[in-house]
Each structure stands twice: as C-alpha cells, then as structure tokens.
C-alpha cells in the first residue's frame, strides 16, 4: 500500500497507521479515503497529496 505526502505541509499518510482519530483505522488505503477527507495536520484536501516512492 502506498504512502502519500501532503504537498502543503509535508504530512505523510501511512496506510499502515491510517488516521484513527478521524475514524479511518490502520490499513485504510489512501485511495479509499473519502473525497471529503483532509490533511489532519493542515486541513488541505486530498488532491494536494502525492504518492511517495
């Protein structure tokens, strides 16, 4: 599963960790996060993220 980086603040979404505080458990792929999901660190939308690696 691919990690994604927020190009606004550098936050890295790691699917192995997920975003449990916002209801997305470990194992949630970035691609499966809803379009309304925003960067937990700076609030920008998904389309500002890029795939890492």
């Amino acid at each position: 599963m691919d990690k994604y980086e927020c190009t606004a603040c550098g936050y890295i979404y790691d699917p192995a960790v997920g975003d449990p505080a916002n209801g997305f458990p470990a194992g949630t792929r970035f691609e499966d996060l809803p379009d309304t999901w925003v960067c937990p660190q700076c609030g920008v939308p998904k389309d500002l993220f890029v795939k890492l690696g």
């Binding site: 980086e5 927020c6 190009t7 606004a8 603040c9 550098g10 505080a21 916002n22 209801g23 925003v38 937990p40 660190q41 700076c42 609030g43 920008v44 500002l48 890029v50």
Partner: protein, 401 residues
C-alpha cells in the same frame, strides 16, 4: 492568457496548479527568489531535527512542474512591477508582460529590536538556507535560545532538542502560544515541555544579544542574563511587500486584497503570507491554500469569493496533541466558554460559543474530535442544548456536523 506568479512558495505553486486545472492553454510562469524548487515549509522542522533527509524536503516528484507545463525560474528576483503596462522586470534585466499577475512573495522572519540581532550565531528559520546554516552552526555549538514561544518557536525548540542540544524558549508574553491558548491550557503545555527538557522563560523581554564575533548570552530587560551560544529567532513574520509598495499598490501591513484576492491594481492579485484580507495577515497554511485557490479562479476569469479563513493550528509537542481554532476566549455580549480540564492527564477541552454558535475552541491532549471541532467552528455551528456534551470523551462531534 499569460499568467505570471512572483513567489515559489505554497500560494504561488498552488495557484499555478489550480490555474492549469482550469485553463489548459494558459501560459504560466513562476519566479522564485530561492534557488530551490517548491518545498512545504513545515518540512524544515523535521529536517532541522535530523529526521528528514535533504532530498525528501520537496514533496512534489521531480519533473512535476514540467509535466503541468508550468514554467519555473529559480534564483530570479523581480525588481519592479509596472501594473499600468502589465509588465514585470527582473533583477537580471529581463522583462515579461502578463495578462494577470499574482504576488505570492510570502513573508520574512521578523527581527525584534534587540541589540546584536544581526550578529553571527543568530538564525531565522524560514528557508532551506536558514536551516542549513543553523544545522552547520549546531555542529559546534550546544546552547540554544529560541526567541519566541509561538508555534514556530516551540516546533524549532523540539527539533533542536532532538539533536541533543540545550534549549531555552524565551517568550515576551506571560504564556506560551499566546494567540492559540488561554492561560490554563498554556500552563498544561508548559508543564509538558519542561518534562521534556525544554527550559522556558515567560514574560521575558530580550534587550540584547551579548557577545563579540559570536553569541555568548542574552540580556533581559530585568537585567538577568541567559547563557547561550546560538539564537534562533521565531518572533513572527513580516510580509514581503516591497514590490507592491514601490508600484504604488495599497499596502497595510500586507498587500491589501478584496474578497476576490484583487489588489488595488487591475490585473494584479495577491495570496498567501504577503496579503492582508479584511485587515488580517493570516500567515498559516489553510489560509494560503484557500487564498491561492480563490486567486486562481478569479485570475482564470471565474468568480469565486473568499471570506477569510478561521484560524486553526494543530501541533504535537512533547507528545501532546494541541488544536486551537477560532476565538479562544469568551469576549463580548452573548459569548460563553465551557471547559473540561484534567491537567494531570494533559487534557484540556474548551469551546467558545456566541449566541449558541461555536466560534472557537481549544482541544488539548487528544486528537479525537479536533478536526470536527475545526469544521464546526468554520460553519459557526449552532449547538444549543448539546453544548456540555461536546466536551465529553465519548461524544462523537462528527454526528452534529
């Protein structure tokens, strides 16, 4: 349509990306003063801590701007803009004409009026150059005084601590994060930071940086001396308005823009840390993002208004999650604040209401509900009878969104 953008930071880069999405045929050129491609500024903190290698600073994959057909000129300083002629001039003697221009020149680190602040051993932390110079200096020095106990000061202090250097944060105000936290929350944060080995001096006014040919210490207004061999200045930002001012644009503390991000000169827009909207310099990422998007739409000929960005800060410091949004004190008619506090657990939750609507809050010690709180405040959600329940650990704020 010929689009020129001055500034290769978040606002400039995001505006370019958005215009490209809206207009396939637009010619887009960005001029950046730094010699580095765009990078998310917060990455400098991890870089300073030694946890992020240099090549990982840049976020966008290599070749991204070329693939988007966005021209980027690095190490290019714009010397003048001439809105009446729709042209800009570069320091190297180049001239470019535009249909629309975006000023996204950002801000520089504010230097407080302290004697010795321009001497060696004193660093800002805005750019890669700043970070490299500081990292180099830390190779042979070990006692750092950070001037400023705000967001950047605390993040920088943590990063420097990760390099196993001694750190003292010297803050002018009587509490840390004065704009984001009330006294009670700030006290919890202070206790946590001190547990983590970061010394703090509050209500401390620095008058002089002592030392010849290098830093030897600080002298406070109280007469007290603080030992240090390095100073990091994290005392706010100053918008880079010189180009706009020289061209006669309306400038307050920042370049004045309206709700469409237009400056006082036709065809010239501004976004990000450089601009002043409804009297405010926002100076943080969510605002730069929304302003850049708004500017891009309007530049591309599509009306899109901007009404401001609710201040929102999140940080994790000394293992403590801290979120602050909107108004943090109940001031004025019809406002009230509700608090739930467990200082030993590092927990502090506060919501501020005006006529029953959420206008702000502080969420400390947990991430759960923090993002929802931000969204609820952004829409001034009326919470009525539920208000007390919002502070409970098991209440799902997402339910009332």
């Amino acid at each position: 349509m010929k689009v020129l953008i001055v500034g290769n930071g978040l606002a400039g880069t995001l505006a370019a990306k958005t215009i490209r999405e809206l207009d396939d045929g637009a010619e887009i050129e960005i001029f950046g003063e730094e010699r580095y491609p765009y990078y998310p500024r917060p990455n400098l903190i991890e870089y300073l801590a030694g946890r992020l290698p240099y090549d990982k600073l840049f976020a966008f994959p290599e070749g991204w701007t070329e693939r988007q057909q966005i021209g980027v000129r690095l190490s290019e300083t714009i010397s003048r803009i001439r809105p009446a002629e729709r042209k800009i001039e570069t320091q190297a003697g180049g001239v470019r004409f535009y249909d629309v221009l975006l000023l996204a020149t950002g801000a520089r680190a504010a230097l407080p009026p302290v004697e010795g602040i321009h001497g060696p051993g004193v660093f800002a932390l805005r750019t890669i150059v700043d970070a490299n110079e500081l990292i180099g200096h830390l190779g042979t020095h070990k006692r750092v005084a950070v001037l400023g106990g705000g967001l950047l000061g605390l993040e920088a202090a943590r990063a420097i601590r990760a390099r196993e250097k001694e750190v003292v944060v010297v803050e002018y105000f009587d509490r840390l994060l004065p704009r984001q936290l009330d006294p009670a929350a700030a006290a919890i944060l202070k206790a946590q930071l001190e547990k983590d080995g970061i010394a703090l001096r509050l209500g401390a006014v620095v008058r002089e940086i002592l030392g010849v040919g290098g830093v030897q210490g600080l002298r406070l207004a109280s007469g007290e001396r603080i030992e240090a061999d390095t100073v990091v200045v994290a005392a706010g930002i100053v918008p880079e308005v010189a180009l706009a001012r020289e061209a006669g644009l309306a400038v307050g503390r920042g370049v004045v823009v309206d709700d469409q991000m237009r400056t006082s000169a036709p065809g010239v827009f501004a976004a990000g840390d450089v601009c002043e909207h409804r009297g405010r310099i926002h100076g943080f990422i969510p605002a730069a993002f929304e302003q850049a998007r708004t500017a891009a739409y309007n530049m591309a000929g599509q009306e899109k208004p901007y009404a401001g960005t609710v201040p929102l800060s999140t940080l994790k410091v000394a293992g403590l999650f801290v979120t602050s949004v909107g108004e943090i004190d109940a001031e004025g008619e019809g406002t009230e604040a509700l608090v739930r506090s467990l200082p030993e657990a590092g927990l502090y939750k506060k919501i501020v209401l005006r006529e029953g609507r959420l206008v702000g809050g502080i969420w400390m010690g947990t991430k759960r509900g923090a993002a929802e709180l931000g969204r609820l405040v952004a829409v001034s959600k009326h919470v009525g009878a539920l208000k007390k329940d919002l502070l409970e650990d098991d209440f799902d704020l997402g339910e009332i969104l």
